[in-house]
Symmetry: C2
Subunit: 320 residues, 2 copies
């Protein structure tokens, strides 16, 4: 019986079995039909972990920084979960996995749990189930959950909706701050990291970023600090950790944490509703029809109207 197996799995999870955590994370990734009910059961165990999103443009050194952060948290005796995205591009092959492999070294530590999620096809959106994966790490008892984006695409910005603290990593490179501004990263950053600060143009880049930030009104009394790091050498990582803690305290003290988490809860609820509705809406028959508009000479506007009417009719014809 699946129900029995699921109950056993939940019991093993509650008992701290890492394989049970791994199994549930896979169920999330595979969109198992049972997983939402199981997450509902575990919901009461969530809310303790601090969720730190690490984002920024490609090449800024996010993976290296995450490695260092894990080590720093461990030296403060905190347990850590890491959620990282791998591109699933069919022809990227193993070459890009170098960072991930390095990370696996850190993961020999049983207090650390690392999970790579596949991004959703070529659209670059946030991986399926990143919120749910955080919930699982949280319910499992991880005290910190780090979420690292692949660095391009929607995921860069969506991460702010899953994280308590969002860290935007930049590097000293001409126009990087301007581009980050264009990309909307300024709005989501709680903390900036200027990484690779051993480069000669680091001071200029720092001034540029500080200049742009000074134009921005602090949101809710918080002005994002800029932390200078050389992640490859571990420089500045403790300062970054302190800044995350400071941001944590700030959110708790001002009551903005409740507000932020309430928003996240609402966004997640709405996403779950829409996912469910979409599954039902795009059942085989309607999905097929939606693909035959052009050959049938129907405009998308006309066809869309017909499909909606059809959907409503189906619901009405059904017993409640």
């Amino acid at each position: 019986m699946t129900a029995d197996r699921n109950r056993e799995l939940l019991a093993a999870f509650r008992g701290g079995d890492r394989r049970a955590l791994a199994r549930l994370l896979s169920m999330v990734a595979n969109r198992s039909p049972d997983i939402n009910g199981m997450l509902d059961d575990l919901f009461a165990l969530t809310g303790e972990a601090w969720r730190v999103g690490i984002t920024g443009p490609p090449g800024a050194g996010k993976s290296t920084l995450v490695n260092r952060l894990v080590a720093a948290y461990r030296s403060r005796e905190l347990t850590v979960g890491v959620i990282a995205f791998d591109p699933t591009s069919p022809f990227t092959g193993g070459a890009l996995l170098g960072d991930r492999v390095r990370m696996e070294m850190v993961s020999q530590d049983p207090a650390v749990f690392i999970r790579s999620l596949a991004t959703r096809g070529h659209m670059g959106g946030l991986a399926v189930g990143v919120d749910e994966s955080c919930d699982l790490m949280d319910a499992f008892g991880k005290q910190r959950v780090l979420i690292e984006t692949v660095g391009v695409g929607q995921s860069e910005l969506e991460i702010a909706e899953s994280a308590d603290t969002t860290v935007v990593v930049l590097m000293p490179q001409s126009g990087d701050a301007i581009q980050a501004m264009k990309a909307g990263l300024m709005e989501i950053a709680d903390i900036f990291v200027l990484n690779k600060c051993d480069r000669e143009d680091a001071d200029r880049a720092y001034q540029e970023l500080a200049g742009i930030l000074s134009l921005k009104d602090p949101q809710g009394g918080w002005r994002p600090p800029i932390i200078r790091t050389i992640a490859a050498q571990g420089d500045g990582v403790d300062e970054l950790l302190d800044a995350v803690n400071l941001h944590h305290s700030h959110l708790v003290d001002t009551g903005r944490l409740v507000e932020r988490r309430s928003k996240r809860h609402a966004a997640k609820t709405r996403r779950l509703v829409e996912d469910d509705l979409r599954r039902r809406l795009w059942q085989a028959e309607r999905k097929r029809e939606s693909g035959e508009g052009l050959e049938g000479g129907q405009s998308p506007y006309e066809l869309a109207k017909r499909l909606i009417d059809d959907f409503y009719e189906e619901i009405r014809d059904e017993e409640a």
Copy 2:
């Protein structure tokens, strides 16, 4: 009467009145409730324009290239529509509009129509109504429509769903090709442009990109060429135009154009259906409830289930 005004507007549009085009584009941007019916009316006029998406990382020189492409198309006596995205970040102000202003110079030409669309909030997704805006330019008689993304976020990849030919612009910069690969740009590119080829590392960058591309199987018999340009000086722009034409012929000759446009038609139909459904789903009352889960102590999984049941009940209670 709104209906009368809309009819007049459509008549003016069909008569080639640029102000009518501008007005309809605004109705798209403002999600006017009347616009879908009007687009349905104009649908028969679409399908002639060739839609070229220009995307790539920030700073690669996309705006400059678009300017040059417009001029090159004009010298071949083709009419052009341009759809470009402006970041709507509340504090970016006017500083970033320099490129756009330069573009307005090109737009003195009455055969060119340029429209900037706002991107959707901080999420970086493709601007509201880019497809519909293309349809309008197309129905208005523009022979080429250029769509330029802001260069970061989802828009970079979504553009491939609106374009007939997708041009990915890179520049000679260490690791740019690798990062493009990570970001999924390799999958969507019909043509690569290596811009700023007057830089000293251009040859190395070209080899790197060519090396990566050689590992990839050509899709449907098309292997994306790499065009070297110096957009600021106009070098390579004619070659790019020729490559776009070649890609056009390829899609027509192999029948892949029908396939591609049929997919686009289907995706658009589904989006229209989902937008409509979402509007109805998230009416004030349910929207409010979805935001009260955390304080009510309900898990998002539990609350989502209740909201869906509620939505279905509402539809059942209603007369068809």
